[in-house]
Amino acid sequence: MTTINDPAALQVEDLAPHFDLFDPVHSERLWEVLAYARKACPVLKTDADEGYYIVTRYDHLRAVLEDAETYSSEQAGLRGVPIPMPPLTEDPPRHIEYRRALNKYLSRSFLGRYTGDVHETARELLDDLVPRGGFDFMTDYAVPFTSRNLARVVLDDSNAERIQRAIAIATRISSEGDPQAFFDMAALAEEFLRDRAASGSQRDDVLSAIVNGTVQGRPLTLEEQVGATMIMFTGGLDTTKAALGNIARHLAEDPGLEQRLRDPEWVKGDLDEFLRYESPITFMARTVTRDTELGGCPLKPGDRVAVHYASANRDDSRFGQADRLDFDRERNPHAAFGLGPHRCIGMHFARLQIEIAFNELLSRVTNLRIPAGAHVETAVGIVLSPEHLPVTFDVREP
């Protein structure tokens, strides 16, 4: 790995072969590097970390994500995964079995029973935040909102104390990226699972589906159960939070957008343009399993590939004037929720939460804006999101 002294000063073609997707200084030139790669070197080889290939174009992204035989998800995180987390880290033939067991519990119709709870979560938070006159949209609203909703839907437990512990750990994962928190969550997940199994409950929800699930004719091991619980829970934290934050930032910076978000139809089209423009998960990873070729670039077994959803969603050959936020575009088959069999299982839940978060917020406030002099800190790496988003507003008359 070549150490670069001053990434900001390099020509883009000299930075690209050493581009580090996790480096904050490199990330200041992320869009520039990706635009360069899409034109000049769409499967961009970088010597960052142990070396990997960044897939930047939409058509190549789709080719990778549709071919699980050639591109394995076993190490779906570019810097690895702490534990196996099925179905995220599964390949055929097991992958589809996990999806079949879990899809139902995150379907729009199943999630309907939680709509009231999600509204209630938003209201409780806003009851406290609105009278303050200003708050940090990320840490004070988006993080607790998504943490509580996830605990409710994935863990759905009557033990209030344990739910509170889950929310607290989720908050540490989501706001601090604390690696210890991940393992604390795994330990808590094990507690939830053992308890649910021992209770003999025949409840029909995510946790029971994991406890009772089978793969290749045999029950899931405890490790598989913990991994599945972990990804179902953590998978919806940073992701939904990021989408909320990116949209809120636009809302706060562009007064013209408020009317658009007050139209209930916004979640059926405009939301997808927000997600295309700033994809909350910018990349995940695959491992090449056999000799192959992608965009003229030869790949061999063991090669690591970063599938860059955010770049694919800015591909001009797929989306006209892709670098413009344009709610009127005719075609928006974006890849923000992924493509192919690993398509985000929590997608409907994310949409539901986003819809309700803004519905409740805008019922209470108007003219959301960033206070003069306030600083919006942005995250670097896998998640594209503000870390902090100070906002103020005018309270709506009841």
């Binding site: 999806r99 079949r100 899809n103 139902k104 379907s107 729009r108 119709s109 199943f110 979640v267 059926k268 089209g269 997808d272 005719e330 075609r331 928006n332 088959p333 974006h334 890849a335 929720f337 493509l339 192919g340 069999p341 398509r343 299982i345 997608m347 409907h348």
Partner: protein
Amino acid sequence: MSLSIDVSRCQGHGRCSLISPKLFDVTDDGLGQVLVPEPEPADTADVARAIANCPESAISFSA
């Protein structure tokens, strides 16, 4: 002309159903479903939008 979803391509994104809940639904299994295989002329624009916005290119409208 008949509206159909290629189930081997469909991944249940549900964009079609958001564009037209009249023409499409997403089942609990996570797959798209055509509700109206023979849409009316008034639905033509929604048919075109659904096809254009399916991330998996799974929808077709053909004789």
